[in-house]
Point group: C2
Chain length 188, copies 2
Amino acid sequence: MGAVQPTPEPSGLSPTGKVILGMIASGKRTGYDIKRLVDKTTRHFWAASYGQIYPELKRLEADGLISGRAEPSGGRHRRVFELTDAGREALHDWLRSDDSDPSELRDEGMLKLFFSDALPERRVPNIRAMRAREQRKLEQLLALQEHAAGGAPGMYTTLQLGIGATRWMIEWCDAAIRDLSSHDTTQE
Amino acid sequence: MGAVQPTPEPSGLSPTGKVILGMIASGKRTGYDIKRLVDKTTRHFWAASYGQIYPELKRLEADGLISGRAEPSGGRHRRVFELTDAGREALHDWLRSDDSDPSELRDEGMLKLFFSDALPERRVPNIRAMRAREQRKLEQLLALQEHAAGGAPGMYTTLQLGIGATRWMIEWCDAAIRDLSSHDTTQE
DNA sequence: ACAATCATGTAAGGGGTTACATGATTTG
DNA sequence: CAAATCATGTAACCCCTTACATGATTGT
């Protein structure tokens, strides 16, 4: 009864806190820098928006994990953050933890496929649409590849994983389209 | 200025609304049934909780897309829902739409891998932990397979997709562990 | 001059989970 | 008779995105 104790995260870090600490670990960054970096690198498996980033920067600073100082560029408002010792320790603690939240996926194309018995003639078109989305994603990842050529191993490895998984999905779609097209051409 | 108009979904259906209509399309269901079905089938790419399901059932009924009637089993409170004509139409409209929200992934293991340059000795152990999670997921999916043997094509196909993708991930982890273990045994 | 980019921040709302409260029925 | 399962529902939070407000600087 009474107050519900908020399930304490193993690391104490919020989801967005993790990505912020990680991004700041490789150099001083502004909130804006972090957003750009996330969009360019982790976006396909871990997104973040301004509405999360700026408030979380405040919280992390209040908790003593990062420290920011004003570094205006011209007359332009600008706060650059770096890790404190406690922040680096928190990051390492998190990276050392063996348990992670299970990966979460939400895929509307798969849901449509799952329910496609309610409208069987849409099954193949929907798989074609899935394939098109994966193709677009693949192109985006491949575009990042050259930019990330001389990058750190972590970045390189996750990008290769993303590219490989996306290619696998495209091939799966092709195989599924072939299979379904052969033995029910139009009618059941 | 003034009121912010809430970006209207193409189909008008909320995310949870989609899964509810789809689940009810194949037979009359209670909220409890829907939760069980989701956990047994779509959970690995589309989750839903009681806290979403029951309020959404009310909304869908208020919108005339489903209709529920009391069918107590013994003295036990029980409301069974089925699609109205409008509900079936809404489901079909959604299934016919070619655009879907892009698939979203949130994977803490990949984020740790991305930042692993901050603690390189944890790189391989973290991939091993990812592999273990995927292995557990594979076992769950394989367990569903026999239960879903005589199931509808949509269910069968999405399950095969999940199994295939998970297997691909496990193999990727194995290859990555091999590669990383060979050319930096302990030191850089 | 105009547009693009750099830069910070907030308000409102959407969507979600967890934990709890409640109680009947079935199964071992 | 105890435990599991069936069944409904809500309150409290958490996390997140979108859209907006604001303004300086840089590039064309």
